[in-house]
């Protein structure tokens, strides 16, 4: 007896696209509510010159963006870039040896513990950590006291650019170490043996095999540190001096300062988003080259 079973199930089966949509829906809603809509609102605000709270929003033009192009604001952007790039490079230089040591030299059973100890500072408030640096870097602080004992003259680091870099690097180093560790831990040791077999000294093997193999990790870590430090507000505020205006603080001043110019602040925010997106695009493209070579 032949029942048209096939056609019956076909008619009752849900359409093929339903399952993916249902699975993506929560994330899509979350993204829409918390990212897309707010960004859209900010974009709209950025088109209103001089809008203040309590006023009606009426988009009218690109005046805010034109204002950003004035030479007054250029040093602010370059300072932010300087801090971000400096922090990224410092984190790479300091973080790579640490991650390498943990991933490759530390016995497997201790790895998690050592990693945890490096990441532990993240458990404290980032604000507290920055304040701690004040205690260390002050003219009469811990660092200078120690230097004094050895006979080195006191260093005037606090409230200058180096202090901000130190604070930022310290805040973001654990992230870099974590990301680099994840990449290095997957390193195929046999490749290092092959390199040695072909005549590479440990140093040559490091630069010709280990580093290229961990490029995706390096790119990911650099990206994270760069983006975070571009938006860092606390460290320049607390550890910076009279000349430490960054884009983050400028935006803060627009929204929470005396000017109350939410329009200009929004325009600045959009520019920041643009710069960061550019950085992401660049780094992803570079990371992609590695993907073509096979990871």
């Amino acid at each position: 007896m032949t029942l048209p079973i096939a056609t019956r199930t076909e008619a009752q089966a849900p359409p093929a696209w339903l399952q993916p949509v249902l699975m993506l829906a929560p994330a899509a809603v979350w993204l829409a509510l918390l990212l897309v809509i707010p960004t859209g609102l900010i974009f709209q605000l950025s088109l209103v010159p001089g809008i203040r709270p309590g006023q009606v929003v009426n988009p009218s033009g690109l005046d805010n963006y034109i204002r950003i192009l004035q030479p007054d604001y250029f040093p602010v952007l370059t300072r932010s870039l300087f801090f971000a790039l400096g922090t990224t490079i410092a984190c790479l230089i300091l973080g790579f040896p640490v991650a390498y040591w943990i991933a490759i030299k530390v016995p497997k059973r201790w790895q998690n513990l050592v990693l945890l100890s490096f990441v532990l500072p993240l458990w404290t408030s980032s604000l507290l950590r920055s304040y701690a640096w004040i205690t260390i870097l002050r003219p009469t602080g811990v660092l200078n006291t120690l230097l004094g004992k050895v006979g080195i003259p006191a260093l005037d680091i606090l409230n200058r650019e180096p202090a901000v870099l130190i604070g930022m690097t310290y805040s973001l180093l654990p992230y870099m170490v974590l990301i680099l560790y994840a990449s290095l831990e997957k390193l195929d040791r046999r490749l290092l043996e092959a390199a040695a077999d072909l005549g590479a000294t440990p140093r040559q093997a490091f630069w010709r095999v280990t580093v290229p193999q961990s490029l995706t990790g390096i790119a990911a870590g650099a990206l994270l540190v760069f983006i975070t430090s571009m938006g860092d507000f606390i460290n320049p505020e607390i550890l910076g001096g009279a000349s430490s205006m960054t884009v983050a603080r400028l935006i803060y001043n627009q929204f929470l300062g005396a000017t109350q110019n939410w329009g200009f602040g929004s325009a600045l925010s959009m520019v920041l988003i643009l710069v960061v997106s550019l950085a992401i695009a660049l780094l992803l493209k570079y990371g992609d080259r590695n993907a073509a070579g096979g990871v």
């Binding site: 195929d188 046999r190 490749l191 043996e193 092959a194 390199a195 040695a196 077999d197 072909l198 005549g199 590479a200 000294t201 040559q204 010709r208 095999v209 290229p212 193999q213 490029l215 590695n290 073509a292 070579g293 096979g294 990871v295």
Partner: protein, 376 residues
Amino acid sequence: MSQAAIQNQAPTITDAGFDVELRKVSKVYNNETVVRGIDLSIRRGEFFSILGPSGCGKTTTLRLMAGFETPSAGDVLIQGRFMNQVPPYRRPVNTVFQSYALFNHLTVWENVAFGLRLRKFSKAEIQQRVDEALKLVKMDGFAKRFPTQLSGGQQQRVALARALVNRPTVLLLDEPLGALDLKLRKEMQMELSNLHRELGLTFVMVTHDQEEALSLSDRIAVMNQGKVEQIDAPEKIYQQPQTPFVADFIGDTNLFHGKIEGFYPTMLWVITESGLKVKAKQPENGNTLTSGAVVLSIRPENIRLSLAVPDDEGNSFEGRLRNVMYLGTHAHYQVELLSGDRVTVMRPNVPTHLPGADTPIFVSWSAQDCLALPLV
């Protein structure tokens, strides 16, 4: 040791024809002795195989030659020079790894050029040697590809080229064909053999595949549990195994445990544990067995089957046919003797009529084919 210091070592007083020597080399890991005081001497230009089951220590032995491990005791010499303290990047050897270990962030061309670049050859020289090496392994069209875009066989050839391009004194191969399917493996075995003949290098290959070892090597070292059981040319390994392990590991064989009842210079009589009286041959290596426990080894292809009692003077025993396995060119017959022993017999072709399960049949072999091996 620095490169200069290595070169300046006066070769020790050995036959300068040995490219690789291991003298009483042992390796201990975590209180486990993986290699027990082995001696190996590999001649220049030889194709030498180290054969054994997994865990016998053969890979460790290879790694000791390459420099990835340091011996716990004993000496490793390459071309007469002591290499114990010399790191792998200073030894004149190159390795083809079991997993190929190709650099996936470099193209095929760059992989092969890796060793040459380290030694700062000129661009022209590198170009020429790399192209040469790729042509040798028939991968010249693949220079711009990345390893992940290649099949297993292709990767293996690139790994070969990468090692050979450096013109090493000795080429070490660690189970190079293990990951390939049967047909490809047979092809690559041919190519390896051809390469060896063309280049005249010393090849040291580690494998667990006895067919491979037997077909490619000039000499084979059979290893078991960290010790070398026998080193010989393939035919001798096969026909004249010197220990029960070698007899059992190489090819198929039938083993009988027993005691010596009587002996002559070239023959001996053995009573097996199952009560059979067997006439066997004394070992060829001059070791005359006189008494005590022995193991007898008879290869299946040396046993004859008949329905009637054989009339020659060889060993013959009655049994019943239990199983037949057809293998194309020949067949394996499982016969259960009246004594209880199970014997495997191999004969070409399958007769059209097989005897029934209750029909008496007779197995027989000559004493010349029956080896007596001392129990170690």
